[in-house]
């Protein structure tokens, strides 16, 4: 073993203390910029869908983001990855933020599609990105739970887990 002199020991101690201090400061700085607890805890939104008509779109705000709820026509195909049932009615939900650069696409009921005017991104009625347009993936689905005729966003329920394939 190499001989350790008193000065080496002092140098190593100083280096160690500095490193610990620097890392602790960086952690503190990182955490200062994290979302505040009040922001994190205010993350639940409830929407009552009992009055919605078929083919209609309604919007709620969840964590500052627009979330759409569409009650699908009976004739539309059922997509188990994007749709769920409340009773006999079929609904589809998603965060209406373009997965390309975060703009908010506009829903066109006649064409049954979402169009993002910023970069020409398109999504189908089910919120799936149309190939050849910029968005790389479908609209994100917010975690939700069904409570009678209400949808509670921010909580994870059985339907949500089934849709994302984790049930």
């Amino acid at each position: 073993m190499a001989e350790i002199k008193r000065r080496d020991f002092l140098g190593m101690t100083l280096g160690g203390v500095t490193a610990v201090g620097a890392i602790a400061s960086l952690v503190a700085m990182k955490k200062t910029w994290d979302p505040l607890p009040s922001v994190v805890s205010a993350g639940f939104t409830t929407a009552d869908v009992s009055n919605m008509k078929e083919g209609e779109l309604s919007q709620v705000e969840w964590r500052g983001k627009p979330v759409y709820i569409i009650k699908k026509n009976k004739a539309d195909p059922f997509n188990p990855q994007r749709d769920f049932k409340i009773g006999e009615d079929v609904f589809t939900v998603g965060i209406q933020i373009c997965t390309h650069l975060g703009c908010i696409p506009i829903f066109h009921p006649e064409e049954k599609e979402f169009l993002c005017p910023c970069h020409g991104g398109k999504f189908t009625l089910d919120g799936i990105n149309v190939p050849g347009t910029p968005p790389p993936r479908p609209f994100d689905i917010p975690p939700f739970k069904i409570d009678g005729t209400k949808i509670v966003f921010g909580e994870t329920g059985a339907e949500y887990q089934k849709m994302i394939g984790k049930a």
């Binding site: 993350g43 983001k65 975060g102 020409g120």
Partner: protein
């Protein structure tokens, strides 16, 4: 300690304590500038003047601006514009100067490229200058967000979202930068801090580094001539001022610079008083709304070219992001992409001359199409121009400069 005598005046008193006479010599009266440089070399001093204008006008805006998501819009559009005496003037000065500083930065950059001032010993001048450009971009972006209008809000959303492209941790990084799930009050206040404190301090430090980096290799000149500064300095000090190829920075050189600043300021205040609207996007007079995107989002004109590179690869967001990332840093590597080390103006290097104007043309095309909505033919023009930008830098430039070097340098 040096011996302190009774001073024969204020200057002498200061000189004994701070060495002000020596300092004046080093910084001004014996800092040598080549004679054969044209007015394009005055852009650096114009930038210094503009930055000062921005700091002063910014200080006056800062006194009434409220960095709060609920109050920011009105503090700008009502308090500053309507109530504060001459508040409109400070705002227009600040906005026009922010735009004009990019005009001058681009001229400054392209003068350096044209005359090869980034090469052969002057690499640090170029790199520190490019760092300044990047920090100025961050400064402009963080300031653009503060009025909290629709365009501010969505520009902030789009730009912060770019960090979502980082593999694995992207979404967490975006939420961390915003301090919320969306751009919100926390985002505004931290960008306010960046805009009024941290970034200006970084800019000031970088300006000092940029100026210092100029001192050792000295300023380039119109012919790319290598001057023996010590010999030329000696001639000048001996009184052979005509023979010497250099002049002192103060007062000889600066007198010409000050003339350029004066001319520029006439133009600048003409813009401030009569055409300030070019620096004010009409969409930004709608208050920010997190649930409604303006139909067409675009950045200020000085970012349009890189914005177009970002969306030029319309079929793949990832490719676009990679190309955008490359476009942001590619200029830094110019001294090493140009494989011919001889310094000469572009008109003495035929292939490089064509390359230079192609890049300028391509950037103009990217800028124009960056503003147009991405429809029909536009996306293909944008795609070709984005590809051309990358190819010109990464492939064409090294090739033509290697060929030039093999031919034995410039003609």
């Amino acid at each position: 300690m040096a011996e302190i005598r009774k001073a024969d005046g204020l200057i002498d008193w200061l000189d004994q304590r701070l060495g002000v006479k020596k300092l004046t010599k080093v910084l001004m009266t014996e800092y040598w500038i080549p004679k054969n440089i044209n007015f394009l070399w005055a852009m650096g001093v114009v930038l210094t003047a503009l930055f000062t204008v921005l700091v002063v006008s910014g200080i006056f805006l800062l006194m009434y601006y409220k960095p709060d998501a609920k109050m920011a819009f009105d503090s700008v559009n009502y308090t500053i514009m309507q109530e504060v005496a001459y508040g409109w003037l400070w705002r227009h000065i600040h906005a026009v100067a922010a735009s004009m500083i990019f005009v001058i930065i681009y001229i400054h950059m392209f003068v350096a490229i044209y005359y090869g001032s980034y090469k052969n010993g002057r690499e640090m001048i170029w790199v520190s200058g490019m760092l300044l450009f990047v920090v100025f971009s961050a400064e402009a972006f963080s300031g653009y967000m503060l009025p909290w209008g629709q365009m501010s809000y969505w520009a902030a959303t789009v730009i912060t979202n770019l960090f979502g492209g980082i593999p694995f941790i992207g979404n967490d990084v975006v939420e961390w930068i915003r301090g919320n799930y969306v751009v919100a009050d926390a985002t505004l206040t931290r960008f306010f801090m960046l805009h009024v404190f941290l970034l200006p301090v970084v800019i000031i430090i970088l300006i000092v580094v940029h100026f210092y980096s100029l001192r050792v290799p000295h300023v380039n000149n119109q012919y790319g001539e290598v001057l023996d500064f010590e010999a030329e300095e000696k001639k000048y000090l001996e009184g052979k001022k005509k023979e010497s190829k250099v002049i002192p920075f103060w007062p000889v050189f600066l007198s010409k610079d000050i003339f350029v600043i004066c001319t520029f300021m006439i133009f600048f205040f003409y813009l401030v008083c009569y055409h300030y609207d070019f620096a004010m996007d009409p969409v930004n007079f709608d208050p920010a709304d997190s649930l409604k995107t303006p139909t067409h989002i675009y950045p200020e004109w000085y970012f349009l070219w890189s914005y177009e590179v970002l969306r030029g690869f319309f079929f793949s967001a990832d490719l676009g992001l990679i190309a955008f990332g490359i476009a942001q840093i590619i200029f830094f590597f110019l001294p090493w992409l140009d494989r011919s080390s001889k310094v000469a103006p572009a008109h003495k290097r035929p292939a490089f001359f064509i390359w230079f104007w192609l890049i300028v043309l391509d950037l103009i095309v990217l800028t124009i199409y960056g503003k147009l909505p991405p429809e029909g033919m536009n996306i293909y023009v944008g795609f070709v121009a984005s590809i051309a930008f990358l190819v010109l830098f990464i492939i064409v430039l090294p090739i033509i400069t290697i060929v030039e070097r093999k031919k034995g340098g410039v003609q």
